[in-house]
Amino acid sequence: MSSAAAPAASRPWWRVLAGNQNRNLWFWAFVGPFFVGLLIFVYIPILWSLYLSFFDARNTVTPTDFVGLQNYATMLTDPNFLSSLGTFALFAVFIVPVTFVFSLGLALAINRTRWFQAFYRSAFFLPTACSYVVASLVWKMAIFNGLPSGLANTVLSWFGIGNIAWLSITDPPWYWLVLVTLRLWLQVGFYMILFLAGLQRIPPILYEAAAIDGAKPGWQTLRYITLPQLRATSAAVLVLLLINAFQAFDEFYNTLSSFGSYPPYARPPLVYLYFIAFGREQNLGQGSAGAIILAVLVGLVTILQLRFLRERDGARR
């Protein structure tokens, strides 16, 4: 009688929680372990850092000295922090376009080659399996070691160019060449794979139609078919390149620091943050403020970039 009148009320509360056919239970059995971990190791740390960023937290994670926005003010007026953003900008100006052009060029060339496609693809893709630490070691100690026996100086000597101390001088800042070529070598294959996948998704019929319409193969088809068809891939590549450049740490740390100390120049944001939070001071309050400023910056850049690309995409249609 009651079951007909109010079926929901008659069900005990645990049945309601468990859901129809225990679906809610099953959902949490599947998703729960991951989700709890995500809360504990991603969300809570971020909130905790937000809390820490308002305290004077040197060498401690349970501070008592509330300083308000002082850490943010310190960070945003610290010339070293601002110059770390400058270092990132400079690095991005080099690495983003260079990697973009090279990976696109490689993908186009390999896509058009008939023989040994798999070999070329593997050769350029292989470095992505290498760690930045190992690459830094090779770049620092075998290619750009600044000695006459280094590979770069050996090659230059064939052209009568004298020895260059690549990493130990700042004027001219040759270390940029070292850092950019290193990251290019390690990353270009990854983006090449993305472009190759994008190229393979272009329907061949478009090229057939263009040929019928009299488009010349080469520049015209590239400009009016291939590149527009790759727009989504290009957008993804640009966002990934920028975010990855922003997170640069490994190769800077490993090529530039020696005997346990890092030079005062060429500190990208994460290197700067690392030394604030884990250097002599262990200033976790200021480090947290820095982490939050950087996270907000990355988020903003990503959103702006995606919106910009989407708008342009919309405008074209």
Binding site: S131, W185, A277
Partner: protein
Amino acid sequence: MTSAAAQRVRAPHLSGGGVRQPPLERAGAILRTVLLVLGALLFLIPFYLIIRTALATEPEIAELEFTLWPAKAQWQNFADVFSNSQVPFARALLNSVLVSVVQTVLTVVLAALAGYGLARIPYRYSGLVSGLVLATLMIPAAVTFVPTFVMVSSLGWVSSLRGLIIPGLFSALAVFLFRQQFSDFPRDLEEAGRIDGLGYFGVFWRIVVPNTGAVFAAIGAITFLASWNAFLWPLVIGQDPNSWTIQVALSAYTTSQNPNYSQLFAAATIATVPVLLLFVGLQRFIRQGYESTGSTG
């Protein structure tokens, strides 16, 4: 359209060294091949340098001239790595193997379960949970290293395997990729399983998992590589040399005073060759995994 006609109109984008190619296109094809071959060789040089230096003697490395190949390959260097007095390479290698294997297995299990739950089990707050998971994709992991360190150090996990492994297990990207794959899985097959009396877990374990091996291989291989090559987090958390991974050990030795070059490169070889072989073996899956990463942006 006959196939011959189709062949002719398709020609512009197919290219290659056909017989009736116009000279300009032919020159382009030759130039392209030359550049690709040179580029590919250039890209393999660093691997050659690692092995060459690993097999050389210290005096050969100290020479003024570039040494193309050591006069006699010093295989002894590889054994010497493990008796290095400055850096515990053997322990670091063991740590790396433990961390990478455990991290790969657990990441794949956790992410596959979560991906399936989000893709297939109807739940009122499923959208909210999805949103919270995907939002973490917007936050680059490297920016959260300070917050995560705060958390992990308050748990007392600094310089421990737990501290190295556990914080990295919750990859929203892996969940996202699994969810995408499982959403594309044919529902008919799952329905058939349900009719045969399988529950959610039965369908997942007996029907979905055996038929989506490729995505498991892809995500597993990518996770393993990332875990093996990780540097910033192991550096931050591994404050005691006994908890160093191979990357941290290499870095410590690189930046130390007077490292032994051939031992350093021998250690780098040991750290690189196994993953390189794995990478070559699983290249197809890794490529597919990266391709779907790229298309998600």
